[in-house]
Symmetry: D2
Amino acid sequence: MIIVMKPNSTAAEIGAVIARIQKAGASPHPIYGVERTVVAVVGETRAVDPKAFLQMPGVEKITSISAPYKLASRESHPDDTVIRLNGITIGAKELVVMAGPCSVESRTQLMETAHAVKEAGAQILRGGAFKPRSSPYSFQGMGLKGLEILAEARETYGLYIVTEVMTPQAVPMLAEYADILQIGARNTQNYGLLHAVGRVQRPVMLKRGMMSSMEELLMSAEYILAGGNYRVMLCERGIRTFEKYTRNTFDLNAVPVLKQLSHLPLIADPSHGTGRWDAVPAMARAAVAAGADGLMIEVHPNPAEAFSDGPQSLKPERFADLMQQVKRVAESVDRALSTVPEPA
Amino acid sequence: MIIVMKPNSTAAEIGAVIARIQKAGASPHPIYGVERTVVAVVGETRAVDPKAFLQMPGVEKITSISAPYKLASRESHPDDTVIRLNGITIGAKELVVMAGPCSVESRTQLMETAHAVKEAGAQILRGGAFKPRSSPYSFQGMGLKGLEILAEARETYGLYIVTEVMTPQAVPMLAEYADILQIGARNTQNYGLLHAVGRVQRPVMLKRGMMSSMEELLMSAEYILAGGNYRVMLCERGIRTFEKYTRNTFDLNAVPVLKQLSHLPLIADPSHGTGRWDAVPAMARAAVAAGADGLMIEVHPNPAEAFSDGPQSLKPERFADLMQQVKRVAESVDRALSTVPEPA
Amino acid sequence: MIIVMKPNSTAAEIGAVIARIQKAGASPHPIYGVERTVVAVVGETRAVDPKAFLQMPGVEKITSISAPYKLASRESHPDDTVIRLNGITIGAKELVVMAGPCSVESRTQLMETAHAVKEAGAQILRGGAFKPRSSPYSFQGMGLKGLEILAEARETYGLYIVTEVMTPQAVPMLAEYADILQIGARNTQNYGLLHAVGRVQRPVMLKRGMMSSMEELLMSAEYILAGGNYRVMLCERGIRTFEKYTRNTFDLNAVPVLKQLSHLPLIADPSHGTGRWDAVPAMARAAVAAGADGLMIEVHPNPAEAFSDGPQSLKPERFADLMQQVKRVAESVDRALSTVPEPA
Amino acid sequence: MIIVMKPNSTAAEIGAVIARIQKAGASPHPIYGVERTVVAVVGETRAVDPKAFLQMPGVEKITSISAPYKLASRESHPDDTVIRLNGITIGAKELVVMAGPCSVESRTQLMETAHAVKEAGAQILRGGAFKPRSSPYSFQGMGLKGLEILAEARETYGLYIVTEVMTPQAVPMLAEYADILQIGARNTQNYGLLHAVGRVQRPVMLKRGMMSSMEELLMSAEYILAGGNYRVMLCERGIRTFEKYTRNTFDLNAVPVLKQLSHLPLIADPSHGTGRWDAVPAMARAAVAAGADGLMIEVHPNPAEAFSDGPQSLKPERFADLMQQVKRVAESVDRALSTVPEPA
């Protein structure tokens, strides 16, 4: 941590800053420059709250040196985290594909989709039973009934299940039905929920909020890791910007940058990242070329009838075509698609 | 709702759109233009999901005509909502001021602050007992002990209490201690929480998320109103932009625009809106001049020692000075500061 | 400048950084911490390009300490800059008001508007003769003919003229007709143009770009000041964000922050800052309460017929009403409206 | 165009809107709904300014139906535009690569870089002779001398030249030296400059501004096309967002979306799109996988000594490696790298 003093700060003000650093158990290193003085803080700096200095007389600004996350950082854990489900791995050479509808709408709809995505080569079935909707008048999900349908699809087709959990209370129940618990973009900083999924033994896919910085995403992952659940994967799904031709701006820069900063696997969701089905295949290819460890794709047997996210859902035949394209791109970057699992 | 067809859409495609509108129980009105056809949808349009049409062949885009919120709109409720606590009103001519520390840190800290803000003319004491923090390693609040200290301050100084609630489970307990329940900016779209506060009989202050549009804020208010709790006030506290000299960009445009669109009272929070104590007085004045119904201001007896939000907290003497400034601006726009309450 | 080394950087890498700093003529101060080393750079740091170090082995990041602008900073010029025209001042206690149409459309339209804004108490007439338009098919301004009409209005009504200049070549001509040259928001970083207005003896009003940070705005002002023209005023007119209910997000935080950082006068433009005439009076009041030194307001005798910016233009009677409101708010913050000038 | 009336609009207000549409030469089609009336405008709608209606009594909002660009749209020109230089094509199956330093700094630096990028397979040499810099104290480019060095490199190595033009006056001179004129991101809406390059016979590469929407980029292209220069290529180079770990947010969504909306070739610039050399190869691969027609990459023989953009520049050996990676990805999407040209 570096404390930058104002150009006209007094010796007394500098002295007070130094004393405060010492009181916190760290070591101050003042550097007297031509225009101004800066004080570097060395030692146990995590005990020193940077913001506290901003109100001290003569202080102009504070600069942090260390990243605020630790368990999520590659510094603390240089090797890639690989999450193992029975028969597949997430974060290793093989890419996983999660596909399925935004919402479970009916048994027929889900089973039909599950069959199609399995045929096309996906390993994991997505589908929301509890849906966060911006309007209280929109379809809110089938709830428990939806979970039961997902469980049936798992058994019938041998697919893993990823589904969203929205409240801390629901975590234990969801953890029974799902192979992967999803934290949605609106809950990236719902700390009660992060706390709750940190205490169960289920892999968690943490989506980046539409206005979360990469640092905040890693800090939210830190909550889950600090709770004791180390099987966390991140998901880039687009951020909010001024651009209006797409629903979100898919920030694929996050792929190389997060892979450098963190050891956690990274999934890319081009369906939400674009909001337009006609841009999904191109951006799925791009995500794989950039180095993502997996994809999450919305597929619906009849997107025009979907209860939610129809505009960004692919028809099964288009999804099958996407899988062929992605396979070729994966090979061009020395990756491969995961094979279809045979769960116990 | 208006469905815009592509320039080269066929009669069959237009026919399919018309049929689908009729099936949903609404009336289609096709208009055949020189370059393209548009189909207006009239009647029970809320039953028709606009996005469903985007996947139909020949459709280019969809435009909504009506606002998606209803109970929150001024159309449905032309008169201003006025929230009454014993002795004060929120949303009428008199402005309320909520002031206090970001977090309750100790009995001494809170009682000292409560005394100071009461002396300066505030009516409502703010203070967090449960804190949403981006780092799992930061101070998370005093919890129940903090609530008890808040209750003591209420009794001693005759101030109302506003405090944040973070999980649905905590709502009943918080509703016992607080006069106003605050939904924080990270929870603006935490639908489980909105649902829960919609079912208690406590006024709710809903903060705009740093990523929420005004429309989304009104949709979140709609959740609470639809749950049966009509005592909702909105709070503008800054949005996230590219600007780095301030913590957030305080969107005071929201004051006149939300007051036009909605009947709900609107509080402005210049402490979060700027993130800099040295900009708080100017922006408090601006918020009142723009037409806000109240202010929320962070005050701390010793900001340099604050556990959180020190950089944006005012010392008590600066807060007293701000109150004098605000009083004059309020009078210049024919408003007045609320008098200090004498709660039962 | 602070150079932060990676946790595992070697002594050789640190040595290379130190050598490079010395070669540039500055003094390196290495600080060896528990986790990592940082090297502070002292002395003639402006000669050292911070970015150059980012490619050196072992370097993690660079932090600048000093602001990159100098002439525009309050540090270098503690007193407020006051720009004097004959009979009025900009940046002193009295507020100036610039009002008029977006574009000069005809002699009748301009003269009628000039008469109205003078009656209402404005001192400066705005009106574009050369218009930057996002479409090549939109009205591009009346050009020279528009300037002549502005000149006539000045003589008839005793108003100063502010008008936009778009290309370096046009600067000398515009400087003959205008009392203040306006650099528009799309040209905030048009360095050729900044260079050109830095060499004439006319006050310049520099608008913040919709994409410019406050720092970039001050750097653009620095271009003009460095050219030798010290009569520069800044203008906040809204930035681009995700919010869609307003044309721009009016960043009034810029008022207190820029007034702290810089000595230059600051004008606020609520017409562009909101894009909605019905929000202009509220935000004009807010800007004055926040401490702006003046206002720029679009006024049109018949906004529904305006060639440009109709939605944000006020009718003359609404502008007169706004002036009354603004006058009261100005007095509440110990400012006053400038009197109407009597130019030579 | 659709004019949406307020719910309580009167028959007289609707009548006035209808009359105004007729006066403009278009046909009004009112549709009387349950909650409100909308008026569709059919026929010569380009003559009708949508914004003019926003000030009419009873009008709530206006929705445009047609895109505001015409010559740039794929509707008006369904086939891909292919720009031919002697021996290479831009916008066809083969991808072009533009590589070189941000700025021409010396003859040695440029010739060394030219040799390296040619060896690695690039066809076009980039290098700025006139540089837009945010600080007046930074290196502003070598000017004419830089152009002469570029011309020598072209002759020596058989590479095409792309370089930036910053002012309308400089267009003719630059057009003599450059094979492609670049409009930089800060000048995307510098209409005087767009006008000037629309009147020369040189291909133009138009960069997207850091806060330009895709629609605004296409409107700026429209200026050049409307001037008579049809050889325009677009360039995605990142937009400004709240994310701080990268210099810009590289919006690769623009690749599939702009290719659908427009027939113009699209180049991707991952150097500016990320601002970090260590993310450039991943994002170059991603851009090609998404469907870009070419790449622009910053290469410098010694990035740590670069006068500008060092942090995002690749060393020659890393660039050669990138070319190998890109080649494989290109093949996986049925594209190929262009061969090295043999200019006349």
